[in-house]
């Protein structure tokens, strides 16, 4: 199959070697686990357990309030010791609603549904089980997997791309998973294909497992596992960041380009991460919810970099301890890859469903230096995989003209950071771009709120006028009551209504 060239991008120093050798190791069960109620895109789950309650491994802790959400489950058996706020795995270190489970060390599973053949289920049942298992995209974005699969009802899907590109440096969790659990991944892919093929006439859906060509062993393992299934093929893609970006991967392997601001399924392509395929296999074959994932622990400050299978909710500090600790205090502690990952304020935050790696980088690895003036060299333009002009966008943003940046295509930026990585002047281009995106969203929200308030106020005015009219009409009908209630009832009634917005609405 021909790989289509994708503009821009950079060849990165992979720095994967240190962690890619060892097999995936399970972590000992930590003393307590912090399970955030929101580990996915969408609404946070709502707790269904009480403090003090004993829970079993795999038991539902939080239920999704709507379709665009995901449940969370107990990673191990134990007692719920707190339902409240705990530090989020986010640079801010702010608290997030969290259920804390103190493990009893028993690892006692909840009664699992009897094994069934998922390939005999219909699409709705498959999707329901995926949703109930709390499976979200494990590539990092944590988009509920079932919601994505259900897009088949709106858009005819012809290609399922399984993303094993893993283009971020250091990370090898997908690589190890593909090498060690290739059969299981293929099974997950078959289950997804089964769901997608329902009610579909015409050619069957093809599945392409795309892997960067620096992962020869993973490619070989998946090729072997897929050989029995004619609809599933592996495909080697160039090792070039950001190959794992959904839209760019689609372009590389299918030649199709997702229109701006559209979703991949709208052109008939669905992309799922290899880790997601594995989680779907586990959920459907064994009824096991998503309570663990593979996490790469790496970076120059880590004594022995390795991949671990970690329970969701495990504190980062417990992972670091279990891995033999740190060689030196890290200059920066990251969750995710070094290109798009987020800084952690400290190690007392939990591993969540979207955590692909924990990196403890030394100052030599970061090689931070102060920003210098822009020399307009155009490197950011040449490397941008989205065809944007970061230099112009940032100069607009620095000048406070966020709308100007919009006209340069700010919202088409995927935030891959290739521009800032390549900038010889070390200008934090991505930070400016993200700032502008956030600021514009906030402004949009404020504008929306103001409009909403205006709309409600206007409705209230109309309603009051109508009421006054109605009363006036009644008063004319019964003229004697008029001076007992001279319009005043309205004046006294109004404040009551404004104090209660529900009534006003």
């Amino acid at each position: 199959m021909r790989i289509v060239h994708v503009r821009g991008g950079v060849r990165l120093n992979g720095r994967k070697r240190r962690a890619e050798r060892g097999r995936i190791t399970s972590l000992p069960i930590p003393a307590y686990l912090n399970v955030p109620l929101k580990q996915h895109i969408g609404a946070p789950a709502e707790p269904v357990v009480r403090v003090g309650e004993h829970v079993l491994k795999g038991q539902l802790l939080g239920r999704p309030p709507g379709p665009m959400s995901a449940p969370v489950h107990a990673p191990t058996s134990g007692r719920v010791i707190a339902i409240g706020a705990a530090p989020a795995p986010h640079p801010s270190g702010l608290d997030t609603p969290t259920i804390t489970v103190q493990s009893d060390g028993e690892e006692q599973w909840i009664e699992l549904a009897p094994p069934i053949d998922p390939l005999a289920l219909d699409a709705a049942a498959i999707e329901e089980r995926i949703a109930d298992a709390g499976v979200v995209g494990l590539g990092g974005a944590a988009f509920p997997a079932a919601v994505k699969l259900r897009l088949r009802t709106r858009h005819p899907i012809h290609t399922l791309i399984v993303n094993g590109a893993e283009c971020e440096p250091y990370l090898t969790c997908d690589d190890r998973l593909m090498q060690e659990r290739a059969e299981e991944i293929i099974d997950g892919v078959r289950i997804m294909l089964r769901a997608l093929e329902q009610d579909r006439s015409g050619p069957s859906i093809r599945a392409l497992i795309a892997i960067e060509n620096n992962k020869g062993d993973a490619l070989a393992a998946l090729k072997k596992a897929a050989s029995a299934h004619p609809g599933i093929a592996t495909i080697a893609v160039p090792t070039r960041y950001p190959m794992g970006s959904e839209k760019h991967l689609i372009r590389a392997v299918t030649g199709k380009e997702v229109p701006a601001r559209a979703l991949a399924p709208e052109i008939g392509v669905l992309v799922h991460n290899v880790g997601t395929a594995f989680a779907i296999h586990r959920a459907l074959r064994f009824g096991k919810p998503l309570i663990s994932r593979i996490v790469t622990l790496s970076g120059g400050a880590v004594a022995s970099p390795q991949n671990f299978e970690v329970l969701i909710g495990t504190p980062v500090s417990a992972l670091l301890r279990a891995a033999g600790g740190l060689r030196q205090p890290p200059a920066r502690l990251l969750m995710g890859g070094p290109m798009m990952g987020a800084m952690l304020p400290h190690a007392e935050v939990p591993i969540v469903k979207g955590t692909s790696g924990i990196l403890a980088l030394t100052s030599a690895e970061i090689a931070a230096r102060p920003a210098a003036p822009c020399i307009r060299c155009g490197t950011c333009v040449a490397v941008c995989p989205c065809g944007l002009v970061p230099v112009e966008m940032v100069s607009q943003i620095r000048g406070g003209r966020l709308e100007g940046a919009l006209r340069f295509g700010l919202l088409d930026c995927v935030g891959c950071g290739t521009c800032a990585y390549s900038c010889p002047s070390r200008i934090p281009l991505l930070q400016y771009l993200n700032f502008a995106k956030g600021e514009l969203t906030a402004r949009e929200r404020t504008k929306h709120k103001a409009e909403e308030a205006r709309r409600l106020a206007e409705r209230r005015r109309l309603r009051l006028a109508q009421q006054a009219e109605a009363r006036a009409a009644t008063a004319t009908a019964r003229p004697r009551q008029q001076h007992r209630h001279p319009e005043g009832s309205e004046a006294t009634g109004a404040p009551d209504r404004t104090t209660n917005p529900q009534v006003a609405a």
Partner: protein
């Protein structure tokens, strides 16, 4: 809030820097400069040192005047490079004040008045050169024949000091026209016996730089070697040099074919004057050239065509500096109109069509033509 400052991704870097780029450009200039020095002797060394020194002092003065810290600004090497490039384009036996004046004008007026590194519209070295050319046409067109250093005929170090600092150059005795000057009119002076043919074009001499000309413009071969280093290290991207040299070669071939007696051929134009230096080292100045590849191709072609036009029909024998400055002036317009195609959009910024989409309402650039309801 945590006490740790929050730093956004990416958390690694390619390791490139402005300083590295400047150093690589200077490295690339070394062969041609060294050759120029062997060709024109001690006075060339003096001129180079004086010009570079003046540029660095002017930079330090300007940074201080602007209230900035001097060290990082000087450390990036940009002023050093400006001075060096300017010296490369000067007649090698120019008096000291030519170098100083050019350097000060380049750094202070052309760069720092506009706001310093990255803010200038025009290439500082070329502004310096053009100011000198306009103000001091005699000094700027007094070319000496190559005096290979350490040869008995070449000036000693002490003699060189008087050439550079006391303007003791007996111009009439040793000066001659460059090949480009010769092409435009009768040669100015007679030729010496063992000297290269003043004013006559010879491919070998042009490649090696054994000819009348500026300090560093001479050896096209060595300049090209340096340029190759810049292309290989990614400091210079190919569009500008390729478009500039290509456009000159194209029009030169065309006119030469029409009237060979009147118009020089492509080889003559490519190897003459400052074209190779200009295409590889000067037009490629990132600050004053467009940021997109297509824009750079337009810019390079513009530089080439203007160079040829000025050389052939203009009032000066050499046009590289003017061509580059003229194209510098239109760089903001090029950057305004020429932008890459955004992923998922057409060149005009309209979102690509979905496979099943009907041609509905006219699409708005930078908007979405995807119906809202079709997204979850």
């Amino acid at each position: 809030m945590s006490a740790v400052p929050i730093i956004a991704a990416p958390h690694v870097h390619a390791g490139t820097s402005v300083r590295r780029s400047m150093i690589l450009v200077m490295l690339a200039l070394v062969p041609a400069t060294a050759w120029g020095i062997t060709q024109y002797g001690w006075p060339a060394v003096n001129l180079l040192l004086v010009t570079v020194g003046a540029a660095v002092v002017a930079e330090a003065f300007s940074l201080r005047a602007a209230g900035q810290t001097v060290r990082p600004g000087l450390g990036d090497g940009s002023a050093l490079l400006t001075g060096w490039l300017l010296a490369m384009t000067l007649p090698p036996w120019s008096p000291w004040w030519i170098g100083v004046l050019g350097a000060v004008f380049a750094i202070v007026v052309s760069k720092h008045v506009f706001g310093g590194l990255g803010q200038n519209l025009f290439n500082p070295a070329m502004v310096g050169r053009v100011v000198l050319l306009v103000a001091f046409p005699l000094e700027m067109t007094t070319w000496v024949a190559p005096h290979v250093v350490f040869q008995p005929a070449s000036p000693s170090f002490v003699e060189s000091l008087s050439i550079t600092f006391q303007s003791a150059l007996d111009t009439d005795a040793i000066s001659g026209a460059t090949a480009l000057g010769h092409e435009r009119g009768p040669p100015a002076v007679s030729e010496g016996q063992n000297e290269p043919s003043a004013g006559k074009f010879d491919v070998r001499e042009a490649l090696l730089g054994e000819q009348y000309g500026s300090l560093g413009e001479g050896s096209a071969a060595l300049l090209a070697a340096g340029g190759l280093l810049l292309l290989l290290t990614g400091v210079v991207r190919w569009p500008i040099p390729v478009a500039m040299l290509g456009s000159v070669a194209l029009v030169a071939t065309l006119f030469h074919a029409l009237e060979p007696a009147r118009y020089g051929d492509a080889v003559f134009h490519l190897l003459s004057g400052g074209l190779v230096l200009g295409a590889l080292f000067i037009a490629t100045d990132p600050v004053t050239s467009p940021v997109t590849r297509t824009g750079q191709l337009v810019f390079g072609a513009g530089c080439g065509l203007l160079t040829y036009t000025i050389r052939t029909w203009g009032g000066y024998p050499e046009g590289v500096a003017f061509a580059v400055l003229l194209m510098n002036a239109v760089t903001p317009i090029i950057d305004y109109y020429i932008r890459p195609r955004v992923f998922g959009r057409t060149l005009s910024g309209i979102s690509l069509k979905l496979p099943d989409e009907k041609p509905a309402a006219p699409a708005k650039p930078w908007g979405t033509n995807v119906p809202r309801g079709s997204r979850p």
